[in-house]
């Protein structure tokens, strides 16, 4: 069964460092998303991506964040200068059609120290 794959599963980084979280969406999906879940809180939308551009972003997704689809398979989230409050589980998701069910990856747990 096709699935969304995220790497790494866990990343520890020092405050101020850049991190890149990687995702391989399901191959025939056209819509891609990043969500995050701070420990004990709800899953929050960060950004959606379609046709090689950002479709929508939340207030959380400030200038420190960027997304890229560098080739036909990968979808990355970059945090330019990490802060302690960026510590969270980051989920990548993809969907075949707009607004229908999104399939999530297992997540990358980012710990900023």
């Amino acid at each position: 069964e096709p699935e969304v794959t995220q790497t790494p599963s866990h990343q520890v980084t020092q405050m101020g460092q850049e991190v890149i979280l990687r995702c391989v969406p399901i191959s025939n999906h056209l819509y891609f998303y990043w969500y995050r879940q701070i420990l004990g809180q709800k899953v929050e939308f960060l950004v959606s991506f379609y046709n090689n551009e950002i479709s929508e972003k939340s207030e959380i997704f400030d200038d420190q964040f960027s997304v890229e689809r560098p080739d036909g398979s990968n979808f990355t989230l970059k945090i330019r200068s990490t802060k302690l409050e960026d510590s969270a589980m980051y989920f990548c998701a993809s969907s075949e059609l707009r607004g229908t069910e999104a399939f999530f990856g297992q997540g990358t747990r980012l710990t900023v120290v």
């Binding site: 899953v43 929508e56 229908t100 999104a102």
Partner: protein, 115 residues
């Protein structure tokens, strides 16, 4: 904009008992509705969805949810739970049509099934 309210943050039940996890939503447009499940130390898995048609939808592991438009609810039920159903359950909505199609999640309900 959409919002989702899951009234119960924790629901403890005994094995083989019935359970209902409540979900209410608010939206100015029609929505798709979803339940996702997160088992301990795992990612989010789609449990069931309502896109259109019959308002009662079922999952393969015995859960069901009913879309009630007048009450703007999408409660999740199971007549007899197992220990393995212990997980966090998230209700989510996304708007039909338009350019905004992100998922908006509720805060989640932790279902704990005790022997």
């Amino acid at each position: 904009a959409q919002s989702v309210t899951q009234l119960d943050s924790q629901v403890p039940v005994f094995e083989e008992a019935p359970v209902e996890l409540r979900c209410n939503y608010s939206s100015s447009v029609s929505v798709y509705l979803f339940w996702y499940v997160q088992y301990p130390n795992q990612g989010l898995q789609l449990l069931l969805k309502y896109l259109s048609g019959s308002t009662l939808v079922e999952s393969i592991n015995g859960f069901e949810a009913e879309f009630n438009k007048s009450q703007t609810s999408f409660h999740l039920r199971k007549p007899s739970v197992h220990i393995s159903d212990t997980a966090e359950y998230f209700c989510a909505v996304s708007p039909k049509g338009g350019s905004n199609y992100k998922l908006t999640f509720g805060k989640g309900t932790l279902l704990t099934v005790n022997p």
